[in-house]
């Protein structure tokens, strides 16, 4: 009896020292099917797709936010993407837009039409929205640059430098063709793929709508909402950055300059010379003006 009791005692004492329960994780998973869960799922898919395409963004330092242009890949890298990677890039864009479908651009659940007075609480923070807009502007820029780089052949090209970013320009033979061309002839001499790439890229970069009916061949306008373009997302990003911290807004202005001024306005200036007609030209130019350094700095400091 005594031995039996002492055996129990020994085992119990040893047992007491064992503790195998896990403490709960502090991260609360959103309810499946909730807007938060749908947005998180879309983000995960977008990030996976960006990684698969080799264009994912990584910041090692908070200061990298001041050097956003350093995350931009070269046109050579973008033209080297295979079909699968291009598909992944488009998947990333679609999934990133799904986040905004779920929560709309203010980060709130879109209000129910039958109950417009209902108090709407944002479910995404300003920081999340800033990053979603950053990714969307980045993805739109990449798609536009890839599209133009792939189709340029000996007519036009995009060059890249760390300081100035992307620069869209005619090649030497393109310049010669343009110089010798009669009005309307240069556009006609472009391939259908080149005309389509220019139309699509203008929209993805700025939301510019080219009068496609006047163009030769079967050129179509891209099927997207008017606001689904890089300039719009840059504008949102800048507003949010300013709201979070003015210094952050200032830090992002260089990126805006590179995308809005150097690339987007550069493309518009070139292609309008070639004879492409932009239906909403004034609106687009005004948006770009608001984003470039002087105007934006005034806005931020003001």
């Amino acid at each position: 009896m005594k031995n039996y009791v002492f055996r129990i005692v020994v085992v119990v004492v040893i047992g007491l020292t064992l503790g195998c329960a896990d403490r709960p994780d502090r991260y609360e998973e959103p309810d499946p099917g909730s807007p938060e869960a749908l947005a998180a799922e879309a983000l995960n898919l977008a990030q996976e797709a960006m990684k698969a395409a080799g264009i994912d963004i990584e910041f090692n330092d908070l200061g990298d936010l001041a050097e956003l242009s350093s995350v931009l890949p070269t046109p050579e890298k973008l033209t080297s993407l295979n079909d699968q990677q291009v598909g992944q890039m488009q998947t990333a864009t679609d999934e990133m837009y799904k986040i905004l479908e779920v929560v709309d651009e203010s980060g709130s659940i879109p209000s129910a039409p039958l109950n417009p007075t209902k108090d709407i609480q944002p479910i995404l923070s300003d920081a999340d929205l800033l990053l979603v807009n950053l990714n969307l502007s980045y993805l739109n820029v990449l798609e536009a640059v890839r599209s133009l780089s792939v189709t340029g052949e000996d007519i036009y090209k995009i060059e890249y430098s760390q300081d100035a970013g992307y620069k869209f320009e005619l090649t030497e033979s393109g310049k010669a063709k343009l110089d010798q061309a009669k009005p309307g002839e240069f556009i006609r001499d472009l391939s259908e793929a080149q005309r389509q790439a220019i139309v699509d890229s203008l929209f993805m970069l700025t939301g510019a709508k080219v009068a496609v009916n006047d163009l030769p061949g079967m050129v179509r306008t891209i099927k997207r909402m008017d606001w689904q373009n890089a300039i719009h997302h840059l504008d949102k990003m800048l507003s949010l950055a300013k709201k979070i911290a003015p210094d952050l807004g200032v830090a992002m202005i260089d990126f805006n300059d590179i995308i809005a001024d150097a690339l987007s306005k550069g493309v518009i200036d070139q292609v309008t010379k070639w004879g492409f007609e932009i239906e909403n030209y004034d609106e687009v130019i005004n948006k770009i003006k608001n984003l470039v350094s002087v105007e934006a700095k005034k806005q931020i400091s003001g």
Binding site: I8, V12, A21, R23, L43, D61, L65, L131, V132, A245
Partner: protein
């Protein structure tokens, strides 16, 4: 002979195996929801080391808080002064040991800079800041300090009745700090940290507890004695927290707005600001307890804590505990003046953790407390105690020394659903 030997081995192995399997059932992984609203039940260092399996032991002044029926176990007038009791999570130790270097090497250069976000020379400091914030996400930082608490137990009516009073002035504190993941799950640590929330809570509590216990000796063959007790606790609590409006890490990027929105001290300084933002509530709780002694060395306890309670417009969740404690030497009628051994176990519902009820888990480990105490040289001028336990699936261990039957020094490693804690206390009782 060989067969008998084999049979003994088989029996022994089987017994041990069954017991180990039984114990291992207590160690199943669990998942939990966390909603922290602390009750601040008083936890003595000794009881913490025993995994909170104390309701059937209830043999010291802390019976007031665990099972008031146990007051008549004391059998003499006891005055106790708890000079100090401190506790902090094990993560605090790690954080504190590296904090001075982190502050000097990372925080100071960043705060001294005019352009902390962009200055390329501060890249290493910014990286260190992000890494630190990531580490803190996983940490559980909390500390508490209880300053003088007084207790008095008076036996009355030929020790059949005992009255206990415990008074803890406004010095019981509990502070915690944590960073909680919020928003979209960005894979990049820099992007992920922006909307993580920083939640702090500092609480100050005072309580006055009175309890009365009655012992009735039956001396029947199946029941030697019955004790019943009741306790009333009055509580005043003040909490300073940002739980309802926590700030995000991104908010710190704009120091002026951050200060305005979250720490607007105004002209009257921090003390006035803290006073204005303290959420103070007053409340009470009533406990009932009983202790049955079927034979010498075996106690059964049943307590109802917070049978009635209120704290402003809330109430503490009621808690039922069923407990058993055994002293094997007494059970086996062994006289041993060098050693005393106590084993205890309790089951409670809802789970009786320090935040009572709000740490609801889904498994039975939540409800189980186990403890063992070995006292060397019990009742001598120097008495040493070794303790081990299991509190809701988390190990506890501790030791204590009682010197000159007057001074108690105790330390414990205590695991609960929130964190692993280091606890130390110094008490004088006579």
């Amino acid at each position: 002979m060989k067969l008998n030997y084999t049979g003994d081995v088989v029996k022994t192995v089987t017994t041990f195996t069954l017991l180990i399997i039984a114990v291992s059932f207590l160690c199943t992984d669990v998942a939990a929801e966390e909603d922290q609203k602390p009750l601040y039940l008083f936890r003595s260092t000794r009881v913490s080391a025993l995994g909170n399996a104390y309701e059937a032991i209830a043999d010291d002044i802390y019976a007031i808080h665990y099972n008031p029926a146990g007051l008549t176990n004391i059998g003499k007038t006891v005055f106790q002064l708890m000079a100090v009791r401190g506790r902090f999570t094990s993560d605090v130790v790690e954080e504190a040991s590296t904090m001075p270097d982190f502050f000097n090497e990372t925080i100071v250069p960043l705060t001294d800079s005019n352009n902390p976000l962009m200055d390329p020379t501060l890249s290493a400091q910014r990286e260190a800041l992000v890494t630190r914030a990531e580490e803190i996400l996983k940490r559980r930082i909390g500390l508490g300090l209880d300053l003088p608490a007084f207790g008095l137990v008076l036996p009355m009516a030929n020790k059949k009745l005992a009255l206990g009073i415990s008074f803890i002035p406004m010095t019981q504190t509990n502070t915690s700090f944590r960073i909680v993941e919020r928003g979209l799950p960005w894979p990049d640590p820099v992007m992920e940290m922006f909307d993580n929330q920083v939640i702090y809570r500092a609480a100050f509590q005072g309580s006055l507890t009175t309890a009365v216990s009655y012992n009735h000796d039956l001396n029947a063959s199946f029941l030697k004695s019955v004790k019943i007790g009741a306790g009333l606790r009055l509580i005043r609590r003040s909490i300073f927290t940002d739980e309802d409006n926590p700030f995000m890490i991104a908010d710190v990027l704009n120091p002026d707005e951050f200060k305005k929105n979250y720490f607007n001290l105004g002209d009257e300084g921090f003390s006035s600001y803290a006073r204005d933002n303290l959420e103070t509530s007053t409340g009470y709780s009533v406990d009932l307890g009983s202790l049955l002694t079927p034979m010498d060395g075996l106690n059964l306890g049943i307590t109802f804590r917070n049978l009635m309670s209120g704290l402003s417009d809330q109430s503490f969740p009621a808690n039922l505990t069923i407990a058993v404690a055994a002293k094997p030497f007494s059970l086996l009628d062994i006289n041993n003046s060098l050693l005393d051994l106590t084993l205890a176990a309790s089951w409670d519902d809802p789970n009786g953790d320090d935040n009572l009820g709000d740490f609801a888990l889904d498994q039975y480990t939540d409800h189980i407390h186990l403890g063992a105490e070995v006292r060397l040289l019990p009742g001598q001028l120097v008495e040493v105690a070794l303790r081990a336990g299991n509190n809701q699936g988390f190990p506890t261990v501790g030791t204590g020394i009682r010197i000159l039957k007057l001074l108690n020094l105790d330390v414990a490693w205590y695991g609960n659903l929130e964190a692993d804690w280091l606890i130390g206390s110094m008490e004088v009782s006579f």
